[in-house]
Amino acid sequence: MKILVSIKRVADPDNASKLKVSSDGTAVTSEGLEWKMNPFDDWSLEAALRLTENAAEKNARVGEVVLVSIGPNDEHTQRIIREGLAKGAERGILVEADDANLDSNVVSQILKAVVDKENPDLVVMGKQAADGDSNVAGTKLAARLGWPIINYAMKISTNDDGKTLEVKRELDTGVATVKVTGPAVITTSDRILQPESVKNGITPADHQYAKLEVGGRYASLKGIMQAKKKPIDQMSLGDLGIEAKVALKYTKFELPPARSGDTTFVESVEDLVDKLHNTAKVI
């Protein structure tokens, strides 16, 4: 099974409260924040790796994961691709583009061009990027390809190397189960990191992955060494025959107003109830 996983570098989402806006309001500045792999992409990479390995045989690779990142061709984008390669992906693709010329519309066009070139069996991607929080590119990609979209997958299982997959997907009101015939685009939910979330028909069905609290697996030392030798193809939008035309234009960014008032530390349950009942009047 060959899986394409898109990964984006984003300003450290755990420190997003330190973001600033330029004085004219036209740009978000992430100065001082580290570039990180979009956490939602990291989870999807974990799912893709589980689909293409035998976890009972020291994670022996039985398929191929190709990473694609779209962004400036700089050390940060390259580092993030290497990070994914160190976790186990086979190769990387860096599509060079200015952030200012990217939105979900353009990203889905670029990814379609990469899919047309690579012919993967699946695309597994983050449901959203932690910066734009749009939640659009995956579905737009599927619609452009004519492939089914399965959003918010919490469990994925296949017994025929990804030709058909049973997926449980999270809804607002519960969990739906669908059977999808590939090729398809899948985005993942938080629960994809659970120990039994992925069954690929190769790793024994009773295998329990280690419990992951925050993100996907860590790279092993061996993985980090191997990653240095793995290829990263670089290409331009022109190479892919894409003319980037964004569909959205941000005219102004603002920091949302801080919550008014200080925190009142209350001494007791009685004090809390008194404040909520008589001061805030919310109970």
Binding site: P13, V28, D103, T139, A143, A176, G182, L248, F253
Partner: protein, 320 residues
């Protein structure tokens, strides 16, 4: 003069309240541009749901009865076909709207703004404000394509109320797409609760990792939830640990809530959780650690062991 189409969301043949928040946004866009709006009721039982939607001032209510469970590629073609006749297509940014509308936008070559928090009009054209970076930045966005597709954040738009009148109901033709044949809907487990819906409750009580077990949610959190007539929520850590089911997750990747009162119990307040609740009017934190980041947004903070404080709080609330 924008012509706006609201895509209604149905649950078991009834209109979900999410639809009414999208109606409010659609009315704002229509009023701002001197236009009008229609509603599309789509899915199993669309006829009955359409009848529920005739009193909200829509020009007409369209219905497309599509049997079987929801699959994006089964609904999308009809929405896209109908959408050709509209300038703006709107749905709530629920799991349904976030799944369906990007597909429609792609088929119509339209730009899409997700989870908008406000609508403005500039030179007769609708513009939108949307939260980004887990709610740490707010962006004003212009959609450059002729057609706009937007999803609206439920916590930012009040549910529309009935305004009288009776919109005519019309049947529409069902369109199809070959990709739908690739997806077989097996089933859905709908989580049933007597409590208010998380995104619609005046009071939300959420628990975190510090609860340590599903039993403690049942024995410690639920009595307070019910004493307050609240909805129950949880942090990602509590959902991941299986203490409660995933649809109760509040945060950047769960539900965004803005109740009058939000009580965070044993939740440290990671930035991803704050993204889902910092719009609440009054925020209470109960936590052992007074340095926990939840203090950044809490109006009231009780530094205490939750296992002592929460049962005592439940008893005090019952006395009110």
């Amino acid at each position: 003069m924008a012509k706006v189409l609201v895509v209604a969301e149905l649950l078991e043949g009834k209109t979900r309240k999410t639809t009414l928040c999208a109606v409010t946004a659609a009315k704002q866009i229509a009023e701002g541009t001197g236009g009008s709006f229609d509603i599309l009721s789509i899915g199993e039982g669309a006829g009955a749901a359409a009848a529920e939607l005739t009193g909200y001032g829509a020009g007409k209510v369209l219905k497309a009865d599509i049997p079987g469970g929801y699959v994006c590629e089964k609904y999308g073609p009809t929405v896209a076909e109908i959408g050709k006749g509209y300038d703006v297509i709107v749905a709530c940014a629920s799991a349904f709207g976030k799944d369906l509308l990007p597909w429609v936008a792609a088929k119509l070559d339209a730009g899409m703004a997700s989870e908008i928090a406000a609508v403005h009009t500039d030179a007769g054209k609708p513009r939108y404000t949307r939260p980004m970076y887990a709610g740490n930045v707010s962006g004003n966005v212009e959609i450059l394509t002729g057609k706009h597709v937007v999803t609206v954040r439920q916590s930012e738009f009040d549910a529309a109320t009935e305004s009288g009148g009776s919109s005519p109901v019309e049947d529409v033709a069902i369109a199809t797409d070959p990709a739908a044949d690739k997806v077989e809907f097996i089933g859905v487990e709908v989580m049933k609760s007597e409590r208010p819906e998380l995104t619609d409750a005046d009071v939300v009580v959420s628990g975190g990792r510090a609860l340590k077990s599903a039993e403690n949610f049942t024995n410690v959190i639920e009595p307070l939830v019910d004493a307050l007539g609240a909805a129950m929520g949880a942090s990602r850590a509590a959902c991941d640990a299986g203490y409660v089911s995933p649809e109760l997750q509040v945060g950047q990747t769960g539900k965004v809530v803005a109740p009058k009162l939000y009580v965070a119990i044993g939740i440290s307040g990671a930035i991803q959780h704050l993204a889902g609740m910092k719009g609440s009017k009054t925020i209470v934190a109960i936590n052992k650690d007074k340095e926990a980041p939840i203090a950044q947004v809490a109006d009231y903070f009780l530094v205490a062991d939750l296992f002592d404080a929460v049962p005592a709080l439940t008893e005090e609330v019952k006395k009110l």
